[in-house]
């Protein structure tokens, strides 16, 4: 089945919640409303003829200009060898998309990663905690407006440029050496230059 046909079926089932298929020059996708995404996924998985049982990818893209975070679902079917790409747009300030973990277990860890790196909450997820970053990390790094903190548990995240540091250490070393071995007194003014005195 082509992606158009799958899209038709999905639109037939869910009506308004499913947007149109985007233009095919890039990979086509269709936007689904956040509150119906679980129904859409269940429909896509369970319907004979569709059976999109492989949740290939579940990730997010941050669009600060449009003020949305898109959660992207790449779905595929091994049996029928067709797939579709769904997107859910959610507000950047407090993003929240119902979890599809009940439809595919693969979504479990992938949603945790989206929560970890983008801050999208997934109500209905059984165990939503950070997966890649430490549990007490602040911020969500893959957002476009992420600012790094001052360091983590006392480990700074900036350091001096190594070349500058080496030069500074070199100068300290030279200064210490100079103090330890005072330079020899400057030689007496040289004797009259070898101006030939034999000018007489």
């Amino acid at each position: 089945m082509t992606i158009n046909e799958i899209h038709e079926k999905l639109k037939a089932e869910l009506g308004e919640a499913v947007g149109p298929l985007s233009d095919p020059k890039a990979d086509p996708f269709c936007v689904v409303k956040a509150d119906r995404i679980v129904d859409a996924c269940r429909f896509l998985r369970a319907t004979p003829g569709l059976e999109l049982d492989f949740c290939e990818d579940l990730t997010a893209v941050d669009w600060p200009k449009r003020n949305v975070i898109e959660v992207v679902y790449h779905l595929y079917s091994y049996r029928h060898r067709h797939g579709i790409v769904l997107k859910v747009e959610t507000d950047r300030t407090s993003p929240s998309v119902p979890s599809v973990e009940g439809v595919w277990k693969a979504a479990n860890w992938m949603e945790r990663e989206v929560y970890d790196l983008f801050g999208v909450a997934f109500p209905g997820h059984p165990d939503l905690r950070r997966v890649l970053l430490p549990d007490d990390w602040e911020g969500h790094p893959l957002r476009k407006d992420y600012q790094e903190g001052e360091g983590y548990h006392g480990v700074p995240n900036v350091r001096e440029n190594p070349l500058v540091e080496l030069r500074r250490l070199d100068q300290i070393r030279i200064a210490e050496q100079a103090k330890a071995n005072p330079p020899a007194p400057a030689p007496a003014a040289p004797a009259a230059p070898a101006a030939p005195t034999a000018k007489a």
């Binding site: 990979d27 049982d53 277990k105 992938m110």
Partner: protein
């Protein structure tokens, strides 16, 4: 912030909570497992990843399309050619480039050699985890030949940076083809030696057979890919079923788990599927070397490519399964989002649900059989 809440440990049954890792002597990398056990049988093994997180995806938004290629090596350093290729395919699709035939064949040759090398490390270290130390140096000995070949090809032994957007970086050096064919002739006899040494060893079969069975439905549901998926009985290989590059021109068989030592989908199947895949890859390299066409090795690409706004998914069948790059471009010369969806990340997800009831030694076998590498999980 949510924290990991562990169950109250049942002290009457002498249960304890331990950390397996993050340092442990196997090539799987820095991964930590929080294990609830009574010393023998696990109640649960919770993977705790992130020790190798290098924010590669964030870097992808900063360095521009050609500049990201060396970073893709580090997504999976044991099978770096595939990581390169996935990204290259995605960006080429965005830029609407047509890769020359010779470059596609060279990519296939390099990738299949890399698959053999990666599987050698995988099965060698799996045997070592089970206790038979000897097969590991044998596998590394064979891998040294491949390392030498690839070093002659692109100059590096581990993180190759061989592929470029639009083709490959270097052509075959003189005499490389004959060396490669010599190696392949030598390599074919390794299967017998390997099988005699370890694959059909009774102790090995007992340790792995019937352990941590992942059924077909579970494998698909949890999103396992690659040899893990095929070992559970799903006959799916991206090279054959959705061919990309030059793979449509090659004939090769795809081993699927048959339950050689017990149940379909157990650790032994995952191991033996990899063994058989290595030898199938050797056949592919032979065919590719025979049919190698002449031509360009790289299409001209602007220094700072600016693809149209859009997005695409570039998929390859890596040694660890389907490695997919989701690249979103917004019309500038820097990507808006680069995402690497790796097989090892989801293999971690299944460990928590498969582990109850396993013994501690079986957990080692399970992790080894899933062939996870930490850089793929953490990126």
């Amino acid at each position: 912030m949510e924290k990991l809440i562990l169950r109250r440990v049942d002290r009457r049954n002498e249960e304890m909570i331990l950390n397996f890792g993050p340092q442990h002597p196997s090539t799987h990398g820095v991964i930590n497992f929080i294990v609830e056990t009574d010393g023998e049988v696990l109640r649960k093994a919770i993977p705790d990843v992130g020790y190798l997180h290098r924010s590669i995806e964030k870097i992808g938004e900063m360095v521009g399309y050609p500049g990201f290629m060396p970073y893709t090596d580090r997504v999976d350093y044991l099978a770096a050619m595939f990581a390169n290729e996935g990204y290259a395919i995605a960006v080429e699709r965005l830029l609407k480039l047509q890769v020359p035939k010779r470059a596609q064949y060279l990519r296939a040759i390099a990738c299949e050699l890399n698959r053999i090398a990666s599987h050698l490390v995988s099965i060698g270290s799996m045997a070592m985890d089970i206790g038979a130390v000897t097969p590991f140096p044998y596998a590394l000995r064979e891998r040294e030949y491949i390392n030498d070949l690839i070093e002659a090809l692109c100059g590096a032994r581990l993180t190759y940076n061989y592929l470029r957007i639009g083709g490959v970086a270097y052509d075959l050096p003189q005499g490389w083809r004959d060396r490669c064919l010599t190696f392949l002739d030598h390599f074919d006899s390794l299967l017998q030696e390997w099988d005699r040494l370890i694959s059909f060893n009774e102790i090995y079969e007992r340790r792995l057979g019937g352990v941590a069975v992942i059924s077909r439905e579970q494998a698909i549901d949890y999103g396992l890919v690659g040899p893990n998926l095929r070992a559970s009985g799903v006959d799916w290989d991206l090279r054959r079923d959705a061919p990309y590059g030059a793979y449509a021109d090659f004939k090769f068989d795809v081993p699927v788990g048959k339950g050689w030592a017990g149940v379909v989908g157990d650790c032994y199947d995952r191991y033996y599927v990899r063994v058989l895949e290595m030898f199938a890859s050797a056949k592919i390299v032979r065919q590719a070397l025979e049919k190698l066409p002449e031509g360009e090795i790289q299409v001209k690409v602007p220094k700072k490519p600016k693809p149209e706004a859009g997005e695409t998914m570039g998929r390859v069948e890596s040694a660890r399964g389907e490695l997919a790059y989701y690249v979103v471009s917004d019309g500038t010369d820097r990507a808006h989002r680069v995402r690497a969806r790796t097989g090892s990340f989801l293999a971690m997800g299944i460990i928590e649900d498969i582990s109850p009831g396993l013994m501690v030694a079986d957990l080692v076998a399970l992790i080894a059989s899933l062939d996870v590498v930490a850089p793929e999980i953490d990126r």
